[in-house]
Symmetry: C2
Subunit: 331 residues, 2 copies
C-alpha cells in the first residue's frame, strides 16, 4: 500500500461534508444543554473539547453518498456522537482513566459519579433526538447498537487478564465495543436516504469492517514506541490487563520465558517499573504489532470492497480514504 | 387518615393484575438475556432477586383501568422496570452502596465496572423493547423520562452537602430522580389504550404526585428509629451528605448549636460515631419526620385526586390504595 498522509485522508471527508459537520456540531452543543448546569459543563469538557467526530462524519457522508438531500442526517449524526460520548464517559469510569484525548478525563475533573450520570443523560438525549426524527428503523438500528456496545464492553471485562482468550473472542469484543457503532452510524445514512436493503447492508458492512480495523490499529498503537516518541500515552491496555491482539500474538509466538512474563504481568497484574518496556520489546520481537496491523489492513480492504455497490462519487472516494486513514495513522 | 396495612394496599393491586405481572416477570427474565453470560447473571442479581415491581405494576394497572385489553402493556412494563433497574445499578455505583434491598448490591458482588456496563445494557434493551412495540409516543415519553431521571440525579449530586438548598430545589431532585419514571410508567398505560390526552395527563399527574410522595417517605424512613428497630438500614443519606426534607426541616427549625451540628456533619462530612443518633434525635425534636410525612400525605392526596377523571373501577380503587400504601408504609 502506498503511503498516504492520514490527516489528508480524513480532511478530504471533512471538507466534503463541511457544512453538514458545522450543523452537526451546532446540534451537539444545542442538544447537550440542560437546566442542570453541570451537565453541559461536563459534556462540553468531552464533547466540545475535541475528537475527530469520525462517527458522525460517517453518517453525514453515507447519507450524502446515498443521494440524500435533506437535513435529518445532521441530528442523527449528533445522536451517534452522543452515544459514543456516553460510552467514553462510562469507559473512563470503568477503566479509572485519568486522561482522555491528552486532557484530564471527565471523571478526573468532575468525579466518577457525575461522569456516570452525564453519560446516562447523553444516552437518553440521543434517544430523544431519534424520537424527534421519527424513524423506527433508525431507532431499531441505534438501540441494537447500544445494546451490542454494552455487551462488547462486558465481554472485554470478562476476558480481562485471561490469556486463554481466543482471537475470535477478542474480535467479538471489538466488534461490540467499537465496530457496532461504526456500522450503525453508516447504515443510518442509507436509511434516511430510503435506499434499498442491499445498500443498507453494504454500508453496515463497510462500517463494521472499518470499525474493526480502527480498533485493531488502536490496540497496536497502545504498544507502539513511535507513539511514545510522539508523547502519546502507551501501555494503558497493558497496565489494565486488557487482552488485545498484540498481546495474544506475542504470547502465542513466545517461548516459555516470554509466556511466563505475560502470565505474571497480564494475568496476575503484578507489574514492576520496566515491564512495559519489556512487553514492547517482546511484541516487536514476535512481530506482533505488524501482525495486528496486517489484520487491520485486511479489514480496511474489506470495508472498501463493501462500497463497490455504490457508483463512484466524491463521497465514495472519501469513505474509501477513511479506510486508508484508519490503517495509515499507525505508520 | 385511618390505618391501612401497607401490604394489603399493595396486594390488592398485585392480585388485580396477577396474570399481567406474571407475564411481565417472564418478559423481564427473557429479555435481560445475552450471550455474554455475566449480563443475565448480574441482572438476575438485581432484577429477579426481589423488589416490589411497583413501577411496572403501575403501567399494568393504568392500562387496564383505561380499558386496554391487549398485551402491549406487558413488555412496556418490563421496559419501565429495566430503566428503573439500570438507574439502581448506576446509583449504587454513584453512592458506593454495599447493600440493596437488604442484600449485597451488584457493585459489591460484581464490581463497579460490570454494574455500570450492565446498567447501560438494560437501558439499551429497554429501548429495543419499545422499538419492537412500535409506538413513537411511548418512546417519546420514556426517553424524556430517562433524560429527566439523569438530570435529577445530577442535580442531587450538585445539592449534596449544601444546606442552602431550597425545598423547591429538593423537590426538583425527587421529581427527576424518582417521580418522572412513576409519571411515565402511568402515562404509558393511557397511551396503549389510545385514551384522549386528558386521561394521559391525569395518569401522568397521578404518577408524578405518587412518585414525589413515595420519595418523601423514603427520605423520612432513612432517619426513622422504627426502621432501625426493624433491622433496615438507616442513615445512608446522612452519611452521604444527601440533602433531604427531614434535614432541611430540622436545620431550618434548629437553634445555633443544632445548625452548627448539621453544618459539620452534612456540609463538611466530618462525622463521628454517635452523630447519626444525634441527627435522628434532632430530627424528632424538630418534628421533621412528621413534617416530611405530612408533605407526602399531601402529594398522595393529590395523586388520588388526579384519578377523578376516571370512572370508578377495581383498578382505580387499587391505584388509590397505592397512594395510601406509599404513605402508610412509614407508620
Amino acid at each position: 500500500m502506498k503511503h498516504i498522509d492520514p490527516e489528508d485522508a480524513l480532511n478530504a471527508l471533512v471538507e466534503l461534508v463541511a457544512d453538514d459537520l458545522l450543523a452537526c456540531n451546532r446540534a451537539i452543543v444545542a442538544r447537550m444543554d440542560s437546566p442542570v448546569e453541570l451537565i453541559p459543563q461536563l459534556a462540553a469538557h468531552i464533547v466540545a473539547a475535541g475528537g475527530k467526530r469520525l462517527r458522525p462524519l460517517l453518517t453525514l457522508a453515507a447519507a450524502r453518498m446515498c443521494g440524500y438531500s435533506g437535513l435529518r442526517h445532521v441530528n442523527l449524526a449528533a445522536c451517534v456522537e452522543f452515544i459514543h460520548t456516553a460510552t467514553l464517559l462510562h469507559d473512563d469510569v470503568v477503566d479509572e482513566s485519568l486522561l482522555r484525548r491528552g486532557l484530564a478525563s471527565a471523571n478526573a475533573v468532575f468525579g466518577n459519579k457525575a461522569s456516570v450520570l452525564v453519560g446516562d443523560f447523553l444516552f437518553a438525549r440521543a434517544f430523544q433526538l431519534m424520537v424527534e426524527d421519527g424513524s423506527l428503523r433508525v431507532l431499531e438500528i441505534l438501540s441494537r447498537a447500544a445494546a451490542t456496545i454494552a455487551e462488547g464492553e462486558v465481554l472485554q471485562l470478562v476476558t480481562q487478564n485471561d490469556l486463554s482468550t481466543t482471537e475470535e473472542r477478542y474480535l467479538d469484543v471489538i466488534k461490540g465495543k467499537t465496530a457496532a457503532l461504526f456500522a450503525a452510524a453508516c447504515q443510518v445514512g442509507a436509511v434516511v436516504a430510503a435506499r434499498p436493503d442491499a445498500e443498507e447492508v453494504a454500508l453496515a458492512e463497510y462500517g463494521m469492517n472499518l470499525g474493526i480495523a480502527f480498533q485493531l490499529v488502536d490496540d497496536a498503537l497502545d504498544y507502539s514506541a513511535d507513539q511514545a516518541t510522539l508523547g502519546k500515552t502507551v501501555g494503558d491496555d497493558f497496565r489494565e490487563g486488557k487482552i488485545t491482539l498484540p498481546v495474544l500474538a506475542a504470547y502465542a509466538a513466545g517461548d516459555e520465558d516470554e509466556r511466563s512474563f505475560w502470565r505474571r504481568t497480564v494475568e496476575t497484574s503484578e507489574q514492576v517499573a520496566d515491564d512495559l518496556d519489556h512487553a514492547m520489546l517482546l511484541i516487536v520481537r514476535r512481530n506482533a504489532i505488524q501482525a495486528t496491523l496486517d489484520r487491520a489492513a485486511t479489514f480496511a480492504a474489506a470495508a472498501k470492497a463493501s462500497l463497490e455497490v455504490f457508483p463512484d462519487s466524491a463521497y465514495r472516494r472519501a469513505l474509501r480514504s477513511v479506510a486508508d486513514y484508519t490503517v495509515c495513522r499507525a505508520r
